[in-house]
Symmetry: C2
Subunit: 473 residues, 2 copies
Amino acid sequence: MVSKGVKAVIAQVLDRVSPKVEERAKILGLARRCQRKVRKSLNEMGMQARVRIEGSVAKDTWLSGEADVDIFMCFDVSVPKRRFRPICLKVARKVFKDVGWIERFAEHPYVEAWINGTRINIVPCYKSKRGEWLSATDRTPFHTRYIKRRLSEDVKKEIRLLKRFMKGVGVYGAEIKVGGFSGYLSELLILHFGSFLNTLRNAHRLGKDIIDLEGYYEGRYEEAKRFFMAPVIVVDPIDKYRNVAAALSIQRVSEFIAASKAFLSEPSLTFFYPLEVTPYPLDVLLTELKSREAGILVVKAGRVVAVPDVLWGQLYRSMRAIAVQLKQFEFKVLRSTAWSDEESAIALIFELESTSLPSIKKHLGPPVESKEARSFLEKHLGAPTTYSGPWIEEGRWVVETRRRYTNAVTLLRDLLSDGGETIGVAGLISQAFKKSLRIMVNEEVADFYSTNINFAKFFTEFVVGKPPWLQAA
Amino acid sequence: MVSKGVKAVIAQVLDRVSPKVEERAKILGLARRCQRKVRKSLNEMGMQARVRIEGSVAKDTWLSGEADVDIFMCFDVSVPKRRFRPICLKVARKVFKDVGWIERFAEHPYVEAWINGTRINIVPCYKSKRGEWLSATDRTPFHTRYIKRRLSEDVKKEIRLLKRFMKGVGVYGAEIKVGGFSGYLSELLILHFGSFLNTLRNAHRLGKDIIDLEGYYEGRYEEAKRFFMAPVIVVDPIDKYRNVAAALSIQRVSEFIAASKAFLSEPSLTFFYPLEVTPYPLDVLLTELKSREAGILVVKAGRVVAVPDVLWGQLYRSMRAIAVQLKQFEFKVLRSTAWSDEESAIALIFELESTSLPSIKKHLGPPVESKEARSFLEKHLGAPTTYSGPWIEEGRWVVETRRRYTNAVTLLRDLLSDGGETIGVAGLISQAFKKSLRIMVNEEVADFYSTNINFAKFFTEFVVGKPPWLQAA
């Protein structure tokens, strides 16, 4: 049974996500022009390569207004991988000479350009044989072919609905910043579950079952679970040793499950098209922070030059390392998050129950009959940091002693003054801290908040704290 | 090897604890006079009974200046137990008509009087056959006989040393207030270990081995451990089913172990004769409390009329119940203790890391896929107590919400306004709370501190927090 509400919402979304004839012609024209130009410039360089349109444009599963054009250059396996980067750059210089472009490099080089608001990626790969992959992008042509063969116009609709839903609830994108569902993964889910609604209805099974369209692991699911070791396992139909959902975090899975549940019970367009966040006016923000006696710490630094996957990987790693330290010194970390506009600044944000702790703490010592008892007593008996004791409790010496750090800002300043690499802050983040560290507490964030609208939006979302689709539910 | 220091201290202690001829004559004279008077008054009542001097005076193991005279009336088993109390009272009225006396009643009635600074107890029991005990005190004559047969002048010295040491370090006395070593237990320890120093040297083995002088459980120690289920097991030589150390708490055992260790490494008279505690002058106390940003709560009430074992049992039980509540509401309880002068007042004392908590707290909700998710969201979404969220964390809904109690005093006032019986405060304590509850924080204790010297001493000891013998170590 599909409710009227669900039907109505779906109809509206379908209308918005399906490209009209005009737009389709425009994007395909753009893609083919790029393809020809790439082919031509490779020819001029005397390079043999098959040049193809890949990805959602090739599969016709892209969303209206959000097309990404992927042009793949498939080289013979005799071309050494170190030549990928110079070839890419050379091609880009020719193809995008009028529009400008940027080099991207995560584990694999590629270039990106924007033409009339559409992103074009030029990506090198090998003409690998199936199963004999030589570079990270070699599988893509196989993925495109696998999906295309199984598409009908109806299936495409279901895929577009699911992609838009995933974007709307913030779980779309396999990049490290998001750790969500890739386009290919969403397509496989539709092939598996048959429809958008059926995928939502079965979302809660994602972490439990294995999705294995080609039946590689039939009757051996437990074995496959041990092999892949991931929250969600979707076996790649063109490579039985690859989990398409490997980059998917448990966090995004949970959010997808919760959003699916919420949408099915109270359907709304907001799940697909969330309201734009309006940052709190500064005075509202400050009142809000005051009312909750907030303990929000913002650890900020200037620009970090790195491709997004490296930047976000390092931001998250650094955030976790600092949270561990805060907890070690007994500050209660309610939540933490990382922000960057990928241009001018980075920030790690920690909300604590309180930024200050009582000066007194109980310190557990060794068992009374142990060898260490003596040195413990020598250290604490009559020491200036001892408030009470030592006394005996449950067979151990215990003392009430002065806490080393009663203020989280002082602690962070001490830990990060040298960049914090020793406590686990990642290299680039540590360098940025050394150059331009600022630690702000609560209302001290006002200046930065007022000058960076991107941060202001993010910080407002953080303070509100609930997923945007939840307002509707 | 016994160090010179140890020898010197022991010599001094022996000199002080061994009664001189005069004192011995005085105490024995007093005991025999009482014995005769009791016998006479029983005869006048037409009661058949064997009247004996029991306990440490009978065994000659009492400490100079601290004799307790125990007069036992051993009745024929045909006398109904309900007659014990009226007989006791009648005897007391005659024997102590000039000095006054008080009735004591724990599980067994007896009367107590003071003559020239010496306590006299008159205790009823049955002439039971061994193993066919009819009342709690029937074993005492057997204990007296068992010990007396095994005493030499040297062994008596060792017992006196051990008793004084146990008194000095605060672990002597099987009453509920202390939960320590009884006189009989200390005597058995000397019989087992051979000497005072050997007992101290082997103190750390008390919780591990079983002491079984008559070998009732030879080869079946594991069985005995399961049977007795206590921190320390000392099988009663006259009753294989009784653990003489049953009332001994793990706390006192640990303290005895620690004190033994400390004395052996740094012998001092202080272990036997601790310095009298001088209460802090009020201004010193207040400065001390201020310097530590203390969170000391004193929950006080007026007099509770009960025999000490009942009073202390109820005080400790109530203290634990309140501490559980404080912890439940997330206050960090560093330690708690109970005080009473057994006359005018009772008090439960709790030291908290802080008496106030941040207003914000993280509240864990149900898993996103559970049935309960919906009602959790309905409760917290947009609620006036919600600061941030709900959001999803590790697969569960989580919300930042306002803490119900941010102040420990407010919490206790709410919990105890009706006496607190529902949260586990014991009956008599609860009644006292209903009549005259006062909750004081930190410096608010000043008035009571200034007017009750007994409390002032206790409170000073609590703030100092270390065992008195530790100053010397």
